[in-house]
C-alpha cells in the first residue's frame, strides 16, 4: 500500500532533480544528464538516500585495470568485515560487479571500456566503517572512466565534463598504474601519472607552487586536500611492488613520487592484484587475449580503507 508520495517515483518531480555530478537541473526522467552524461538513474537514487555522499575517483591510463579493480572492490566489500563493508545502493551499480565477476569466472578479463560517457558504469554503494558507536555510513560513488577519456580530458579539458566534475569533488582519488609497464616500459607511465596528478591538483584548486613552498617551510596547509592513493596494479607479475610500494614508486616513478611529495598532504602508495597468475592466448587472427589462471585478490580494499580513514 502506498502511504507517502515518496514511494511514487521517489517522490521527486522532474523540476526538483539535479545531476549528482555537475548539478545541472534534470528535466528528463530517464537517460543521461545533457551536460555530463551521468545516468539520471544515479542522480535519482542518490537524491533519495539519507547518507552523505562521497565521490571517489579511480583514474589511470587505458589498460591499468580500473574496471576490474572497481568491479572486484564492490564484490569484496559486500563480503567485507565490520571494519569495512559495502552494499550496492542502486541496481545499476551491480552491473559493473556482474560484468567483472562473470568475466573472471570465465577466465577472461572484461572488455575494454568504451570512451563514450553514456556507456560508463557507475559504482554506487553504501560503505559502513567502524564498529557500533563509531560506525559511519557513507554513500560511495565511483565511476568507471575509460582510460583514453581520462587522457583526452587531460589534454583537452572539456571533452568529458563528467571527469572534471567528479575529480574536482572527490574526497579521495586512486591513481592506478600498471606495475608491469611501469617497470618495463620506460618513463611513459611515470609521465602519464604525473600529468594525471597535475590534473588532479588543478581540478581540486591546489596551488602547486604554494604547496611546494609550504612543504619547504614545513608549514601545514590550511586545507589538507584530497587523499591520493597511488595503486600499482597487476602486482602478480611484479612482486617488487608487494614488498615495498613506496620504494617501487621512488625507483620507477620518480617524477610522480616527487610531485606527490611536494604537492599533496595525504598520499600513500599501494600494490594491488586480482589474479594469482595469467597467461596469453593468441588466435589465428592474431588477437591476443590475456587469461587469468586463478583469482587471488590482493590489496583491493586497502587503498579505499586508507582513503576513508584519512577523510574521516
Amino acid at each position: 500500500m502506498i502511504t507517502t508520495l515518496r514511494h511514487l517515483d521517489y517522490g521527486l518531480t522532474n523540476s526538483e532533480l539535479d545531476c549528482v555530478c555537475c548539478g545541472t537541473a534534470l528535466p528528463d526522467r530517464d537517460g543521461f544528464c545533457r551536460d555530463c552524461q551521468t545516468p539520471i538513474g544515479l542522480s535519482r537514487a542518490v537524491a533519495t538516500r539519507e547518507s552523505s555522499q562521497s565521490f571517489v575517483s579511480v583514474l589511470g591510463a587505458s589498460g591499468a585495470g580500473k574496471t576490474v579493480f572497481l568491479g572486484l572492490l564492490l564484490d569484496l566489500l559486500s563480503n567485507g568485515s565490520e571494519r569495512l563493508k559495502g552494499l550496492a545502493a542502486s541496481a545499476f551499480s551491480v552491473a559493473l560487479q556482474e560484468q567483472v565477476i562473470t568475466a573472471l569466472e570465465q577466465r577472461t578479463f572484461p572488455e575494454k571500456t568504451q570512451s563514450e560517457a553514456d556507456t560508463w558504469d557507475w559504482l554506487h554503494c553504501q560503505v559502513t566503517t567502524g564498529l557500533k558507536k563509531k560506525m559511519r555510513q557513507v554513500d560511495l560513488i565511483a565511476p568507471d572512466f575509460a582510460g583514453e577519456a581520462i587522457g583526452l580530458e587531460i589534454e583537452q579539458t572539456g571533452l568529458y565534463p563528467a571527469i572534471r566534475h567528479v575529480v574536482s569533488k572527490s574526497a579521495g582519488l586512486l591513481i592506478l598504474c600498471d606495475s608491469l609497464k611501469v617497470r618495463d616500459a620506460g618513463s611513459a607511465e611515470d609521465l602519464f601519472a604525473l600529468k594525471l596528478a597535475s590534473y588532479i591538483a588543478q581540478s581540486q584548486g591546489i596551488d602547486v607552487a604554494a604547496a611546494h613552498k609550504a612543504k619547504e617551510l614545513n608549514v601545514k596547509p590550511k586545507h589538507k586536500g584530497p587523499a591520493i592513493a597511488i595503486v600499482f596494479t597487476k602486482c602478480d607479475g611484479c612482486p617488487e611492488t608487494r614488498e615495498d610500494p613506496e620504494a617501487f614508486a621512488t625507483n620507477n616513478t620518480p617524477r610522480l613520487a616527487e610531485f606527490c611529495r611536494q604537492t599533496f598532504h595525504n598520499y600513500a602508495f599501494f600494490s594491488a592484484g586480482v589474479v594469482g597468475s595469467a597467461g596469453v592466448l593468441a588466435d589465428r587472427a592474431g588477437r591476443h587475449m590475456q587469461i587469468p589462471f586463478h583469482i587471488e585478490p590482493h590489496g583491493i580494499i586497502e587503498p579505499l580503507e586508507w582513503v576513508m580513514q584519512v577523510c574521516q
Binding site: D30, G31, Q37, E111, K112, Q114, L191, G286, M289
Partner: protein
C-alpha cells in the same frame, strides 16, 4: 583538390594509450582534432560484429569544415582483451571544397574510395599527407537516378523513408530501423534536401547511437528489445516497420514512430 585527412583508432604510442587521433594531415589543428575526437567511435561502436562491416559517417566540424568518415574493423586491438580495433578514417573538407561536390557527402565518399582512401592501411604514420581528390565527383547521381533505387526497396522501407525524410526536414534526430540498404536511402535523402540542410545534418549508417555523438540520422539494422526507450532517452525518434505476420503468412507492414 587536396583535402585534410586523419585516422582515429586504438594504439599504445607510449604517451597515450587507447583510442586517439593517431594520424593527421597538416591543417588538422587542435580545434578540429578535438571535434574529430568528439565524433569518433571507440571500442565496440559498430552495430555488427562481422569483420567486413563498416559505417559511413558525415558531420559538420566547427563552422567552416565538414568531415566524411568511414569506420571499420582493423587488426587485433593492442591491449590483449581479445577484441578487434575500430578504425575511423576521416576526410575533412572546407565548405568551398564541399561545394564542388554539391554538398553531397556520399559523392565525396564514393570518389575517395575509388581513389583508394577511407580504407584500412597497414601503416598509420603520425603525419599524413593531404588526400588528393578530383575537383568534381567521379560519379554523380542526378535526382531522377536516386529515385530509381526506390524501386528495389520493400514497401515498408519506402514508408520508413518517407517518415524519416519528414523528420529530418523538421530537424529532429532519427533512427531508421530495419533498412536493408542505408546507402540507398541516404542517396535519396541527400537528393531531397537543400544544400543548407545538408550542411547542418549528420549521418551514421552503422554506429551505435550515443549521447556523446549527436548524429541526426542513424541507421539500425535490427530492432532490439528496449531500443525505442533508450533512443527516446537520447532524444532520437525511432522509425521502424511494424511487421505482423498473419496466420496465412501475409505480412503487413506499417512505418511507425512512437507516440
Amino acid at each position: 583538390m587536396q583535402v585534410e585527412q586523419a585516422i582515429f583508432t586504438s594504439i599504445d604510442n607510449g604517451s597515450m594509450k587507447g583510442y586517439q587521433l593517431t594520424s593527421r594531415s597538416s591543417r588538422i589543428d587542435k580545434h578540429i582534432a578535438q571535434e574529430l575526437c568528439r565524433w569518433a567511435p571507440s571500442h565496440a561502436s559498430l552495430l555488427a560484429a562481422e569483420s567486413d562491416y563498416s559505417s559511413l559517417n558525415y558531420f559538420p566540424v566547427l563552422s567552416n569544415w565538414v568531415a566524411i568518415a568511414r569506420t571499420f574493423y582493423g587488426g587485433p586491438e593492442y591491449s590483449g582483451r581479445g577484441s578487434m580495433q575500430i578504425v575511423t578514417h576521416f576526410l575533412v573538407l572546407r565548405l568551398e571544397q564541399f561545394a564542388d561536390y554539391d554538398y553531397d557527402p556520399l559523392a565525396v565518399a564514393r570518389t575517395a574510395q575509388a581513389l583508394g582512401y577511407l580504407r584500412l592501411t597497414s601503416e598509420m604514420p603520425e603525419q599524413l599527407p593531404k588526400a588528393r581528390l578530383t575537383d568534381k565527383p567521379l560519379l554523380y547521381l542526378p535526382a531522377p537516378m536516386r529515385c530509381e533505387s526506390a524501386e528495389d526497396e520493400s514497401i515498408d522501407e519506402q514508408e520508413i523513408y518517407a517518415e524519416v525524410l519528414a523528420l529530418v526536414k523538421e530537424g529532429q534526430r532519427v533512427a531508421a530501423v530495419g533498412i536493408a540498404s542505408p546507402m540507398n536511402v541516404c542517396e535519396r535523402l541527400i537528393g531531397q534536401l537543400p544544400a543548407a540542410s545538408r550542411l547542418q545534418m549528420s549521418i551514421a549508417t552503422g554506429l551505435k547511437p550515443s549521447t556523446h555523438r549527436k548524429f541526426q540520422l542513424h541507421f539500425i539494422p535490427h530492432r532490439e528489445f528496449g531500443m525505442e526507450k533508450r533512443l527516446m532517452a537520447q532524444g532520437i525518434t525511432c522509425v521502424s516497420s511494424n511487421r505482423s505476420v498473419a496466420d496465412d503468412g501475409e505480412v503487413t507492414c506499417l512505418a511507425q514512430r512512437p507516440v
